[in-house]
Symmetry: C2
């Protein structure tokens, strides 16, 4: 299921926009440390579409950084239906949900072919304990990750379905921009309409209609999963966001 990888070039390129880069570089968690032999708990991992990274109840061992691809985290209710809790794009963290209890309270699975970097939590805690300034930084990273559900709440509180979708798309765009290129205006969604619906608390059909509407209004151009933002200002407006507030908050 999870296959170890050791491509140092890939790793190096991927480190620049990583959530933990600063910690890694300023500590012993250097590239060389990260890339360890597959035997000692592989550090670089690859998942295929649909593969599970961790399940509900799994012990927290590593925190993962997404290098490429994307994951979703989900919880499944007793009655069987799945709630999508978050999406995790390149440069973002996965696995901190277990921080409180020591066990994962969600399931994480790959939406597409995905590369991950696994960082042992113990290593991070050790780093934090060594120096207050680093600990403050660590808390910052964790705090930011915690804010992810804050973003989700913000989306879910919107009454209008169209508004929810606009906020969502705007967020995704900002996150790709942050990781890749600040001018970016088109991207390919890694998740299905159904996943989006289960994240936004809407019916699949409502999401689809939302895409169509935004396209009809000339705000975006959609073709299946590929999206081009034509009028960012109008997308922001549809999302009821002020011009200043952008998507600094990661990992929604």
């Amino acid at each position: 299921m999870a296959e170890p990888v050791t491509d140092l070039g890939l790793l190096r390129r991927a480190c620049a926009p990583c959530s933990l880069r600063q910690l890694c570089q300023r500590t012993s968690l250097s590239e060389q440390v990260l890339v360890r032999s597959a035997g000692r708990g592989s550090q670089l991992t690859r998942l295929s579409r649909g593969d599970t990274l961790f399940r509900l109840g799994d012990r927290l061992g590593d925190v993962f950084v997404v290098r490429a691809g994307a994951l979703k985290t989900t919880v499944t209710l007793r009655d069987g239906d799945e709630h999508v809790i978050g999406f995790h794009l390149p440069g973002e963290l996965v696995g901190l949900d277990a921080l409180a209890s020591g066990e994962h309270c969600v399931e994480a699975s790959a939406l597409v072919e995905t590369h991950l970097c696994a960082v042992p939590l113990n290593a991070l805690v050790a780093v934090g304990s060594s120096e207050p300034s680093l600990n403050r930084e660590l808390l910052k990273v964790f705090g930011a990750a915690a804010m992810e559900s804050h973003v989700h709440v913000d989306v879910l509180m919107r009454r209008q379905a169209g508004e929810r979708l606009a906020v969502f798309l705007h967020g995704i765009l900002e996150r790709y921009r942050h990781h890749r290129n600040e001018q970016l205006s088109d991207f390919t969604l890694p998740m299905s309409r159904e996943d989006i619906a289960r994240y936004l608390g809407l019916a699949l059909e409502t999401v689809s209609r939302g895409f169509s509407r935004l396209q009809d209004e000339g705000v975006i151009k959609v073709s299946g999963r590929s999206v081009t933002v034509i009028a960012l200002d109008r997308l922001r407006h549809a999302a009821q966001l002020s011009d200043t507030e952008s998507g600094e908050t990661a990992t929604a």
Copy 2:
């Protein structure tokens, strides 16, 4: 607005069910340390109904523990309407929202007469840096606080208004039980129907109807803000919660 208090007896009684108790007791953050002279940034604080503890954009200085009373945290959208992000009951933390950015991203205000204990964040970080086990514990506390919005998400993802209300009430009950008495079955809500509506993403009237419905069905007894849970099992059922999962997660 915020008035310092130094009642050691009150403090002592209040410490038992506190979120940070373990950290306080195992470290220099003892009662004596907590109760400092009002001059050096008062540690015990009192708020009246409607008073603001911190505003959006305020620098993070202290993390607060609620001793008595209750607060709500809110964000206000550009178009003016207020989203209630969370309620903070006795024993729970407020203020960790600023952990990521260093500035508060929500506003906190008292719903009723409220007593708080202010703990300087620096002190906590220092504690964590001193020893890995304590740091792990600190992360746990913070992680748990981060889970608060996880609970909120869970509520907001419910499609049926009645289900949302049931989950909410069940959560409040569990939290009062945790803090006060595990057998508790009645309590007084510190917040208005409107606050509840803004937390649940519903109209005020829908919330009110939800209360009436639950009462008609004999699940609870309501009179204004005082609620008695008559049939917990049926409340759980209405909330679609399994018998095992309770409200361990604090601060929603």
